[in-house]
């Protein structure tokens, strides 16, 4: 089947409002406002099996359903475009090609949840995506598809863009809400969950760009159609995969969920780059434990990758070849998290630099068996951190211990890194 989110794309430029409409854009919104109640839109999204594309894979429709329907006062929708997960660039690529699916999806989500004011939270560095969105929002307002009495109905909502200033933790949904309120972006305690008490204390839904951009086609074509797009029965829909690292042609592609890992690398990226063979990869961003050669035929979906001991995450794959030192790769990843820790809680603020130090020692040929044992302990200890950042940081460490113990031992016993360096 052809692409869904990418079907509006034009080579080398952003699609225009007119082209998007000619391609069936905004038909879902028109149809929903005429024919469906908010509850029906929500139910269709629940039935579609759409799972959050931002990393956690939580069912999008169910997230919406947690918002109490009868609570007075404003409720909020936030689109999370703080895409800073290393290896992930799908949201930027989508928005630089087509901002309209997101706008339409957000209006539909606002209708389903009863939101009148939504935000798009965009990271620093995505100024082009933000500019595309600003223009798309203005065009939608002009066309009566956003703002007061949308398409002549009695439903009104508006969307605003918030440009951030760069900090990984802002992508954590409760930290994001603090950032949006103009507070220091430390995460908040859960519960209360955002659906009950979020932005300015009101019920709030936070969804990823790709999740929301899928909504128009789900509403237009139905839940069963969306499910049928996936390659395996348990999955639903297509997914944007961005593949980087030691492949022939790094790329961001849209393929059915359930596509096998090896097929993704071979068909979408032309295989490994010349002289390289596949050793390992991060399947979905920096926090997801490594997959290895034994996973070459693994269908990539949330449950299948979880069963293999990792997570599909964002679908941002970083591929490593046979010459990659996995200790060194893990060191790079944990160092990233140590630097991006917001410093709020002790396990994360103190624990991550400690783990970096252990990995540095091992990589420098100064490691001992005790250091490996300390790494093992910290995979457990860092689960006691305040938010998901530190446990995420330990994902690759856990993968290193599970899949590459031999490589760790080589470093420790040989007292040097066995890989030559460029």
């Amino acid at each position: 089947m052809g692409p869904l989110l990418f079907r509006h794309n034009r080579p080398g430029r952003v699609v225009t409002f007119g082209e998007y409409q000619e391609g069936g854009g905004f038909a879902a919104l028109t149809k929903a406002l005429q024919e469906y109640s908010p509850g029906q839109v929500q139910q269709t999204v629940i039935d579609s099996g759409l799972r959050g594309r931002g990393g956690a894979g939580f069912p999008t429709g169910r997230k919406w359903s947690f918002v109490p329907r009868d609570l007075p006062g404003p409720r909020w929708l936030i689109c999370n475009c703080d895409e800073m997960e290393p290896g992930t660039c799908k949201d930027r690529i989508l928005l630089e090609a087509n901002p309209y699916s997101l706008v339409e999806g957000m209006v539909l989500a606002c209708y389903a949840i009863g939101v009148r004011h939504a935000f798009i939270f965009i990271r620093r560095g995505y100024e082009q995506a933000a500019a595309n969105l600003q223009r798309a929002l203005a065009e939608a307002r002009e066309a009566g598809l956003l703002g007061s009495n949308i398409n002549g109905s009695d439903f009104s909502c508006d969307i605003e863009v918030h440009l951030s200033a760069g900090r990984y933790i802002c992508g954590e949904e409760t930290a994001l809400m603090n950032a949006l309120e103009g507070k220091r972006a430390n995460p908040r305690a859960k519960p209360p969950f955002p659906a009950v008490k979020g932005l300015w204390g009101g019920p709030t839904v936070v969804n990823n760009v790709e999740s929301l951009a899928n909504i128009p086609d789900i509403i237009l074509n139905g839940a069963d159609w969306f499910k049928s797009l996936a390659r395996i029965p348990a999955a639903a829909g297509t997914k944007l995969f961005s593949i980087s690292g030691h492949v022939q042609q790094p790329a961001c592609v849209e393929l059915p969920l359930g596509v096998p890992l090896g097929e993704l690398i071979d068909t979408a990226c032309g295989g490994m780059r010349s002289g390289s063979s596949f050793k390992s990869c991060l399947p979905g961003g920096a926090s997801t434990p490594y997959l290895t050669r034994e996973h070459w035929d693994l269908p990539l979906d949330f449950d299948t990758v979880a069963a293999a001991g990792s997570r599909l995450g964002t679908g941002g794959l970083v591929v490593f070849d046979q010459d990659t030192c996995m200790v060194r790769a893990t060191l790079n990843l944990v160092r990233f998290y140590a630097r991006e820790s917001c410093g709020w809680c002790t396990p994360c603020r103190e624990g991550l630099p400690y783990v970096v130090n252990m990995l540095q020692k091992i990589e420098a040929g100064e490691g001992s068996m005790e250091h490996i044992a300390i790494l093992q302990d910290h995979v457990k200890y860092l689960n006691y951190a305040f938010c998901a950042l530190a446990p995420g940081a330990m994902g690759p460490v856990e993968g290193l211990l599970r899949h590459f113990e031999g490589e760790l031992l080589e470093h420790v016993i040989g007292q040097k890194c066995p890989y030559k360096r460029a």
């Binding site: 290393p86 992930t88 200033a165 900090r167 920096a286």
Partner: protein, 162 residues
């Protein structure tokens, strides 16, 4: 002191916000563009505009990677050192650039043009290795192409362009 026009522009932004401090990042960024970095004076002015204590602005200013609370060059070179760029030698690129620019990472070139910093993943992984100079992103870098781009940026700065 900021010009009256910028002041009223920012006052309008704050008035439009749901709560004044919601506009904090926009205000800090605008002041940073005006001063080149977020000076003590800018922090005080942001506090005044937002109805916050200077300390409250300070705790925001020091939180964000791309709000500069110390003097920086006319443009900041952010070299991505996250994992996708790392696989394609992004890690060594930062150090090599430092050597060629004659500064340590974190310092500013003698002519005041560039400050060199590592940064968090720029979301440009399929075009790695990558760097951002000011607002401009550069793809698939080698040391040689990076130096050519930086030279181009220097000419933009000398011509008074962004």
């Amino acid at each position: 002191m900021i010009p009256k026009s910028l002041e009223s522009e920012l006052q309008a932004r704050v008035a439009h916000a749901i709560t004044p401090r919601e506009a904090a990042v926009d205000v800090m960024k605008a002041l940073q563009v005006h001063y080149g970095w977020l000076t003590d004076e800018a922090v005080a002015e942001a506090a005044e505009l937002l109805g916050l204590a200077t300390l409250q602005v300070e705790e925001l200013a020091t939180f964000y990677e791309m709000i500069y609370r110390r003097p920086v060059g006319k443009k900041v070179i952010h070299v991505c050192d996250s994992i996708a760029c790392w696989t394609l030698a992004g890690e060594t690129l930062l150090q090599q650039l430092a050597e060629r620019l004659g500064i340590n990472v974190g310092e500013t070139t003698a002519d005041g043009c560039f400050t060199l910093l590592p940064c968090c993943c720029l979301g440009n992984c399929t075009e790695a290795p990558t760097m951002m100079v000011g607002d401009n992103i550069y793809n698939r870098l080698t040391l040689q192409t990076a130096l050519v781009y930086i030279e181009g940026e220097r000419r933009l700065i000398e011509g008074g362009l962004r």
